[in-house]
Assembly symmetry: D2
Homo-oligomer: 278 residues x 4
């Protein structure tokens, strides 16, 4: 018996839940979780349904789509370990957290490789027995560098790219190749402190909270749909360096929470907002 | 057009959501919110459904009950302002919060009266133009005092009693008369610091967090089903009095959150636990 | 016996704490709280000292200033109820919180009057027996309106102006007359969502946290030194209106926390940042 | 140049700060942090002072003790990496966090070895190149098992024992040998849910928050002085197993926060309470 997750987003109309659950009922699936949300401002219906049984996911999605309003999103997937490529940089705390959880089978994913433009995380990755590819920027232009990265990624055929403090901006073309499949952690409570050195920016503004944001990457830097966020309190004794140190904890936890939600198909993207059935 | 809320709790079996939404669909209700939870440990199904239309609530509940498993709880009520009697004591912060929100039409309830065994909150209540009844304990035994309280309450026919830092324990007999209809705020994160002077207890134990708990009152002091809880951080500079002062904020917010959940029929009681469809 | 608070900010050098405490010791004050902070990035020393005894505050400040580095800030004030004028608008929750605490002697301040450009809060203010002045904008230019406000304020000679969701921007000239003495609550976690309709902005950006910021007002809108901030979690079910409703709780608590810190002389302004000795 | 931390706890009297800072000033130390707290309930004075220079710590402590009230605690230590032995069990998340931070030089400590009565964490420890000692309980009595542990520990001469979800209770005799030098993480917000299976207890009580507590171990199980605590929110969908999974994050962060405070000599024990100069 497999577990499936259906995600539906469409124009709202009466009876949708009744009809969708009817299809599942007739096929004798054992529905274990159902969550719905109607956005009355937009007249949009969103649903996540999780069920057990034997299904051909594509066929089931087809059945559901028969009576859903035109233009509906209807995705049915088996809930199994997704394939991940992680991209890191010099900072090891987010990568370390992912590697530890993966090692202890607490992450419902298979990490295929870690890619980085620097070498700092090579040793850490090696200790967990995973491939590490160093793709230096050297004197290359962005396009050439991205071409190398794409070549590496192509070998692994990942479901998602995870940017674990990767710290480089991708081109619109690059992002476009991974439609809604790049998860990033930004080290501020967006939309505050977009871009570089958010802790330095936070220090200069004199804020009393700092935070982190897990979001999907779109062509606009730090502007993609937010999956989850959290903050911690700081005070006047915190230098930018102290904030960065304290912020590591919230960054890695927010990234893991966001990633777990994505891995369980709990996130629907609705324009620049997300529906999160946690 | 009225708004209704249906609350269902029963043994789980396949097809329940399909059937329940079918009844609502056939009657042409406009369902605006649906939330379900299956407790797989107990094999229990819980649902809250909110819908608009013209209904005879009793008839609808009857229809639903036809196909629900035996022993099901099935309650359908119009979502309208509930009738409250508030019981207070010397501490005015929780009562003040309730009175302010009531005054500004932010509480979906009608406050019928404030009862107290002391007089400290009389002036505050009067400023908001509400009846205040002083029911002194004097030299009376608990039974006699409770009889007086019951007599006062009987005049108002409230849906719920709200204990806004009432600070006295009711007899089992008294509690039994208000089945699942007494909401209390306890000034600790239960089950820590049950009973008297929780802030003094917290100080003596040297805790670094203090909290508050909104819960239904049962015959066992501070043991009833918890609706919601929250905490704040404290440190070694906090005396018991400072904790009590800081704790007021979390007490009143937790009480209001808990009360709002109850007033919107978002809380199902399941033994000593609650299902909260927030 | 009176309680005094000394606030010192100056260039750092060895021995400052020894010398400052020496002056207090020789005068036989009973020091009850001392807090220091050295900003090693700037080489700046900050101290708050609270002590009991009989003093002529000005004389004591003079004594301390004798050996403090040139350009030192050195303020000694008796810790007593400050005089406040509160400015409100249509939203009553922040004002209500202030009035309740004032009524119950939980605010170490005397509220002299409530000023507003609208009439919504008149009844609420009257219930607590305080003066309410309606200063309509009508067709006036900002300058003329501010002149009226200034005239009203002049009668009361307040120590601080508290903007309890006042919702109008003051001119640079107006702000300049109340040097570091205007405390505002902004309904977002600054610097996110500066300006109008922060909850609408938050909704559109799809954030998962909303917040509030208590800050001193400077000539730049929402750019003044931050005193304290807090946030709450929200999700996709929250409309802008729901965020605004939920945000009220965090707004009023953050304003009260910030105001209490100011009233106890616990906040030193350092450029656009604050040192908060809580 | 070395960094030193002085910790002082004694009866309060006028002039203490002046005198203590005088000793440091005369010796030409560069004081970088000073924190004091007077517990007016008990008439007790507590101070942490951090300074740079060349000192013989014992001599300096002697000088300070000359004028401190009788019975004063006065400890001066160089602030350097402490020596740790970590004790673990089957659960790897707290140990993993410690090992990662140690590996990345983010923990101001030297981990000498990991001891465990089980073998689950052997591989993880080995990956970070640290000694792992398996000390099985087998059919031994507690006394014999503890004797073996003591023998192992003796080889390492640690400053502190860290119980990273060790899950076994030590005898009073064992605890007595490590006076105020055993730091434990308990997986509940103490004093709620003392002892075994706190998540099961939390589930049964139906709480809406779960937490973790870092504390010093004393002879009474889970009753020692609390260093720091934190909580997260849970709801009715959380089984005991889900709570345990979510709780891992708060456990490991609370342990690290508590441990860092101890490693920087920021914690003074005062009976069953702690003074934490964070």
């Amino acid at each position: 018996m497999a577990i499936y997750v259906g995600l539906i987003a469409c124009e709202d109309r009466a009876g949708l839940v009744h009809e969708i659950t009817g299809v599942l009922f007739k096929r004798k699936f054992n529905v274990t979780e159902n969550q719905e949300f109607v956005d009355h401002r937009q007249g949009r219906f969103f649903m996540r349904t999780q069920f057990e049984g034997q299904a051909e996911a594509a066929a089931l999605a087809f059945d559901l789509r028969q009576f859903l309003p035109k233009g509906a999103l209807c995705q049915v997937r088996e809930l199994k370990a997704r394939r991940l490529v992680v991209m890191a940089s010099a900072e090891p705390h987010c990568l370390g957290e992912i590697l530890l959880r993966h090692f202890h089978h607490e992450l419902n994913a298979e990490i295929l490789a870690v890619l980085s433009q620097t070498n700092e995380c090579r040793d850490l990755t090696a200790r967990f027995g995973l491939p590490f590819e160093h793709i230096p920027v050297a004197g290359q232009e962005r396009h050439a560098h991205e071409a190398q990265i794409l070549k590496s990624i192509a070998k692994y055929q990942p479901d998602y790219l995870v940017l674990a403090r990767y710290m480089r901006i991708f081109s619109e073309d690059f992002v476009g190749r991974f439609n809604q499949s790049i998860v990033n952690i930004h080290h501020s409570f967006l939309p505050a402190f977009i871009g570089k050195n958010p802790y330095q920016q936070a220090y200069e503004r004199g804020v009393k909270i700092i935070g982190a944001t897990a979001h999907f990457v779109t062509k606009d830097l730090d502007e993609g749909p937010i999956i989850t966020q959290d903050v911690i309190h700081v005070d006047h004794t915190c230098s930018p360096e102290a904030m960065a140190r304290l912020g590591q904890d919230v960054e890695k936890l927010v990234l893991m929470r966001g990633l777990n939600l994505v891995l369980e198909d709990r996130v629907l993207i609705d324009g620049n907002r997300t529906i999160v059935f946690s």
